[in-house]
């Protein structure tokens, strides 16, 4: 049992992040870029965590090393963009590392999404075969497990119906059922459980722990700390592409929570602003209605976000953009100073600026949030970026969620029009 199943050594993955979207270029773009690149100022970064911004590339993973023993169930946690998915993609050979090496001792099945390759026109039964083959199952394997899959998915009656007529619940159950019957020695699972209703998630978790008991090695990425704690004895915490912590799940999940639960209402630039730079953020703070920095807000109180920055060279069209994310890294909303003037960009002339906006009361659900801020020329240059600049908490007190137990990522107070009308004639 002490055999190594996964060995990762000095793994690194570098992505190009052009000012333009790097997804794909047309020939013409490649040609123009080749001509204009020498003249293009490389964007310089602020005091952000994404240290390599200036080089136009970003390390999604940097020098990651760990070993997983055969039969171990290991959770991987971290913020959005910490490199979790990149790690799984490299391990499942979807993308290649830039450096480092990985040895896998056994067949690998990866589950980065449920229902990959499902075709809406095909029937349930046909999709079981297609999806199974895509996930790397042999036809014999699928045939052997066919009944169990149909059983698990509870779709016996509709097995010969095209899946486009399925309810979303049935679709998900079937998709997960196929994947759950993969029989590789090493299973890589990414956030599959984030979809579906509570019942579905419970069922999936049950299946996962059953699979785990059969001595399969599992690497399990999730934001669901409850699921992680229940399933995994060991957890690897990735942050900014590096292993932040690797240890028993209780220990790691605890530290992870602690880091996030520490509110940080203010960020200030420590070192003097470099006059060479065209742009620098000086401070960002969340404040209460008395203009005092505060880390905890009650639900019925507005939150003021204040930013100060200095511009040393006129930057036409530069926008100050912010992202408000919750504890799980989900972006709740984004806003930029161009919101005020419609979509047109604002000229930033040389000078010192203070700008602020207000997050209305009765809007954010109770929880911990962070704000990232950046200054950029949309789709072209990034002048500054500070990830997780401030962390604040919206407490349950006074919040609508605590008053009437409503659900939702946001809990806005919506105005209703109500009219009392005479009964319609029968």
């Amino acid at each position: 049992m002490s055999d190594v199943a996964i060995r990762v050594e000095g793994l690194g993955k570098q992505y190009r992040i052009g000012a333009r979207r790097p997804s794909y270029g047309s020939l013409r773009e490649t040609l123009t870029e080749a001509v204009t690149t020498p003249f293009k100022r490389l964007s310089r970064n602020g005091n952000g965590h994404l240290g390599s911004l200036s080089s136009g590339t970003i390390w999604a993973l940097r020098d990651v090393s760990f070993e997983v023993k055969s039969g171990e169930v290991v959770g991987v946690i971290g913020r959005n963009g910490a490199g979790k998915s990149t790690l799984l993609k490299i391990l499942s050979r979807i993308t290649e590392p830039t450096m480092g090496e990985v040895d896998l001792y056994g067949r690998v099945g990866s589950l980065l999404e449920v229902g990959t390759g499902f075709n809406l026109e095909l029937t349930g039964a046909e999709n079981i075969y297609l999806n199974g083959a895509i996930l790397g199952m042999r036809r014999r394997e699928i045939e052997r497990n066919f009944d169990a899959i149909v059983d698990f998915a509870e779709v016996e009656k509709f097995i010969d119906t095209p899946v486009k007529h399925y309810s979303s619940g049935m679709y998900l159950r079937l998709a997960f059922a196929v994947a759950a019957h993969l029989e590789p020695e090493i299973l890589l699972v990414d956030e599959v459980l984030a979809v579906g209703d509570q019942g579905f998630q419970t069922k999936c978790l049950g299946k996962m722990s059953e699979v785990a008991k059969h001595g399969r090695t599992i690497l399990f990425v999730s934001h669901n700390m409850g699921a992680i704690s229940r399933l995994c004895e060991r957890v690897i915490w990735l942050d900014d592409g590096k292993v932040m912590m690797d240890g028993s799940s209780a220990e790691v999940v605890n530290s992870y929570h602690t880091q996030f639960l520490t509110v940080r209402p203010e960020w200030k630039r420590f070192e003097a602003s470099d006059s060479e730079r065209e742009f620098d953020f000086l401070s960002i703070a969340v404040k209460d209605s008395n203009q005092q920095p505060s880390g905890v807000f009650s639900g019925d109180e507005p939150i003021f976000v204040e930013v100060t920055y200095i511009v040393s060279r006129t930057l036409a069209g530069c926008q100050i953009g912010t992202r408000i994310c919750n504890f799980e890294g989900v972006v709740i909303f984004s806003t930029s100073d161009a919101d005020t003037s419609g979509t047109s960009a604002l000229a930033k002339e040389v000078g010192f600026y203070a700008s602020s906006f207000q997050i209305p009361q009765n809007f954010l659900a109770p929880g911990t949030y962070y704000i990232s801020i950046g200054a950029h020329l949309p789709n072209r240059d990034v002048y500054g970026l500070i990830e997780q600049a401030v962390v604040f908490e919206v407490s349950a007190s006074g919040s609508l969620a605590s008053l009437d137990g409503r659900l939702g990522v946001i809990t806005p107070l919506i105005h209703w029009d109500v009219y009392k009308k005479p009964l319609p004639p029968q």
Partner: protein, 301 residues
């Protein structure tokens, strides 16, 4: 300031000795899968392809199954396309322009060329667009990527078989009798498919990075139609320039089909040998380039 965090590549990359030392200590087994950053040209990994042969089958089967879903005429489209093109050609090029056709009735002359051409052009078009169309698979699951354009070519074979029925009808109608050359047909079909695969792999891989391909493809196909002896016989070309036509690997193949099916012209062994040579050159170069380019598919598509 933060820039200092990035270390030069040489510093981070593990030294060979360190790794091997550790390996000895941990376990002696050879890993089943080794993942290393690849540099330059890489092996074709045909064994990997063989291991996933069932997926080729399932993807081909899916393409066939889904292709004519929600169409009124269904698989009849496989016939309509070459049949109507043939009728148009027969009217304009046969009747009006009076193009020669090596003594073969023009309609069947054209159809015998259009049959492989329709297969080839559809196969190249669909495999050329296949990777982009399968981006959801590429970013979520591993399997040898060549399977995708490969399955797209294979799926075209069914249409080919259906359209073949019309040819048999035409052969009866014009009283064409079979010759021994007919047995060359499997070879010709294989060659057509391999050529389509070779061209399709190139285009599909380029298409991932440069979406220009999508727009260039119909144009390329149109040019290729006129550069191949489909509307006209090779004999129309002056002897002096004929070699130019033979450089198009499809020329030998199309003439081969005519000789095999209609038996009126001599079997063009020489031209076919050249076609085969060029086809394999294209196939090999595109397979290696594909493997080279496939590394970035998931990041780019």
């Amino acid at each position: 300031m933060e820039i200092a965090k990035i270390q030069p590549i040489e510093k981070i990359s593990p030294s060979g000795t360190l790794v091997s030392e550790k390996k000895d200590a941990a376990n002696e087994r050879e890993p089943l899968i080794k993942i290393r950053p690849a540099k330059g040209w890489v092996a074709l990994k045909l064994r990997d392809l063989w291991a996933y042969r069932e997926l080729i089958y399932f993807l081909t089967w899916r393409d066939i199954k889904v292709r004519y879903k929600q169409t009124l005429l269904g698989v009849a489209w496989a016939v309509i396309q070459p049949l109507f093109t043939m009728l148009l050609f027969a009217l304009f090029f046969g009747k009006l322009a009076k193009l020669p056709s090596d003594g073969i009735p023009y309609p069947i002359f054209a159809y015998a060329g259009l049959l492989p051409w329709t297969f080839f052009s559809n196969a190249v078009t669909s495999s050329g667009n296949s990777l982009v169309a399968s981006s959801n698979l590429i970013t979520k699951v591993y399997f040898p990527r060549m399977i995708i354009p490969g399955a797209a070519v294979m799926a075209g074979l069914v249409d080919f078989a259906v359209a073949f029925v019309i040819l048999i009808v035409l052969m009866f109608y014009y009283g064409v009798s079979l010759t021994m050359n007919f047995f060359a047909l499997p070879l010709l079909i294989t060659l057509t498919a391999l050529l389509a695969l070779g061209v399709g792999m190139w285009l599909s891989a380029l298409n991932v990075k440069y979406r220009d391909i999508r727009y260039a493809l119909p144009f390329l196909i149109q040019l290729w139609l006129f550069a191949s002896p489909i509307i006209y016989p090779v004999s129309l070309m002056p002897q002096k320039w004929r070699w130019l036509l033979w450089l198009n690997p499809l020329s030998g193949i199309i003439e081969g089909y005519r000789a095999a099916l209609l038996g009126r012209t001599a079997f063009p062994w020489q031209a076919l040998a050249l076609s085969a040579l060029i086809t394999f050159a294209i196939l090999l170069s595109s397979a290696y380039s594909f493997r080279r380019m496939e590394r970035s598919f998931a990041d780019v598509v």
